[in-house]
Subunit: 302 residues, 3 copies
């Protein structure tokens, strides 16, 4: 059976936990190539990004190479790609060319649902639409698990443009699977319309002292030109900085999916603060993606 | 002696047939890396495409990697490349850098003839000018041979912009080598001025019931803006669709080099029709290019 | 200790000479993969070029692959890269992703000095600012050493836009280390303000008969539009051509870092003249970069 990696929501808790443990194995053995460089030998993945990405694309490429696989970077020509069907033809072409899996990013929220039943190779969601970014979700879970040794009951404040954030989307999915509590913070206009026992809106300053982690989201200044968003005002109201860090629990951590705007959603001195795990997240991202690629090819590891 | 792969016309029938057989070997062993991944180990190819390509470029890249070779994608900067001499300098540079072969695409019909005597490494034509696309020709021959167990005497209708098609060019060359019959179909203005015992103009609807294969060519809508070409009218007159498919022989096949315009030269339902071999062609393309790369490096295999 | 490769000036003579000897080893064994393809196995380098480059980028990529390493090409998005800090974040990201070294090019003269103390992986200068291009310097030294069996006492005329040339910059550094004599030739406006026992301004025609090598620099026509530089006049005054070649010593050689403008700083017939080592330099460039990559990862080889 083809194992598509589309959403964390398709995983039962035990399977998702197995994936986190496998990612932890890769984290621990990242500098021991002899233990991992044969696992996906002779496999070829295609990176197919219809939206720009350097971080996620490189992360998947490095993950594949560390497992002994190779990567073909397929750069879609915008000119010949205008309809959903043509995306299908592109992916079907790569399937025909013999690649073993497709790492895929696209702006459309629903394209993966349409495509996956028609493909005979694993499709790996590297960020589709504004709903989910499940490999980011996995690396966030890995980071939290490394820190706290558990996931159940953890409280995380997510602050920023939650409405348009795939990262927040996958974290909310994970919260429901593992019983975490997510507080959504930020400007009212950027909040999604969700509320249940795992996810609720909250005042940022009020929850900062209570949570185990704050996940700061990048303010996409280029998208909010007409929002009249002033970086300094935003930072004062919703940014992570020393005054908020001092309110955090001593063992609470600061997360950010990157890239970050220093001085907007996070102050310069917080990026590499002792409580920040931002670059740790990036490192974990490679381990998480190794687990995803291996799972997609070999089936879930227990 | 340097083995350039420039045109099918340089191959005696027996050598070209050996190449098809070698491609068939790679087709059959495409999922058995242990049998093939050492054949071009430690070789490095450069992909040098002066015209855009994703399909052919990826196909060669995957072919190289399946044989254990590596690929450097050299993206010519249009700014520094204005004269034929500079193309020479670029290729001579890559030769000096130690690459073992150059996979090359360029708009100029004659540039390969000028360049090849001056280079000390194999030059592989991945589409030069409008004359030939010999690795595409090889994959088409492989597809026909797999289907019919022979090439001599096969009848193929090629329909579309034959005049500007490298694909048709290489198929016509192959027809003369193997004794196939090619019928050229499509608008009068897009027909080349050729006619001999192997190649002749024909009415599409008249030959469809007689041929073993129809090769549909992509209508390059972007090139024919001033041709006043109406996609629907074109489709009615020259497109592959169910009504024409029903006229075909039961064992005849539909070919297309891709990418295709669904609804223009081929209807949506024909692309993956039981008689279509379009995605099979793409799969065969990797096998054919493995044979080409190996031949260029090691010399012709018997 | 992290071994950054930033400038030739940081090397004592004996260490730099060891690096030349190691490059010579790679030159001699470039066609014997079994002797070299394991040396950097399982390492991953990132090519990070903030300025366009095909030659140097490919050269490093091929060097890495010949040593068994892999390369990720990170293409900085100009839009998200506007401040020095963000370059830092980009490199820190790649460090976090687990790459083993960064091959780096940037327009800023001083960015490497700012960055290197903050990074925990080797940073390799592939041309930063207008000051140095040390891997080019190393390949030039290798080429001179192969030719003359020594470096001390050699006389080299460097002709062209010396002021903006990284290549000249690294050669001048090397001259001071090995006791070579560099004559700077070209239009007055393109001369730097330097003069010591190793480097002095000179009249091109006057020194051509005396030197062991002439290093022709590319006239960056695109930069000198307002200079009112006439290619023909320039060639007559400062170009390498047959009449000047005839004045050279019989064993003197012609160098050029490439890419070259045929007919401007060098005439067509001089590029591959028997006394030219221009394509040899490119070949040596791969060997030199293998030595650099290995040195950066493993520490200096004796």
């Amino acid at each position: 059976m083809i194992k598509h990696f589309l959403s964390l929501s398709s995983f039962p808790q035990s399977d998702l936990f197995s994936l986190i443990q496998r990612a932890q194995f890769f984290f621990l053995n990242q500098h021991q190539p002899d233990k991992i460089n044969h696992l996906l030998k002779d496999r070829i993945f295609a990176n197919v990004f219809y939206e720009p990405s350097t971080r996620t694309r490189c992360s998947f490429e490095i993950a594949a190479k560390k497992l002994g696989a190779d990567v073909v970077n397929f750069v879609p020509e915008n000119s010949s790609v205008k309809k959903g069907e043509t995306v299908y033809d592109t992916l079907k072409t790569l399937e025909s060319l013999g690649v073993n899996g497709i790492v895929f990013r696209h702006a459309d929220d629903h394209i993966l649902d349409l495509l996956q039943p028609q493909l005979k190779l694993p499709l790996i969601n590297a960020g589709a639409g504004k709903n989910e970014h499940p490999s980011q979700g996995l690396l966030d879970l890995l980071t939290l698990f490394q820190e706290f040794g558990k996931l159940e009951g953890l409280k995380v404040a997510v602050c920023g443009d939650v409405k348009h954030s795939r990262v927040a989307g996958s974290l909310m999915v994970a919260a429901r699977i593992f019983g975490m509590k997510i507080y959504l913070c930020g400007p009212q206009s950027l909040m999604p319309d969700v509320s249940d026992q795992y996810v609720e809106r909250a005042d940022f300053d009020k929850v900062v002292p209570e949570v185990d982690a704050v996940m700061m989201l990048r303010i996409q200044l280029e998208r909010h030109e007409n929002l009249d968003l002033n970086p300094k005002t935003y930072h004062d109201e919703f940014g992570m900085n020393q005054s908020r860090q001092l309110l955090m629990k001593k063992n609470a951590i600061i997360l950010h999916p990157g890239p970050f705007n220093r001085g907007v959603e996070i102050s310069d001195d917080m990026v590499e603060h002792a409580q920040s795990r931002i670059f740790k997240q990036m490192n974990n991202g490679v381990a998480a993606r190794m687990a995803v690629l291996e799972w997609a090819i070999n089936g879930s590891k227990k």
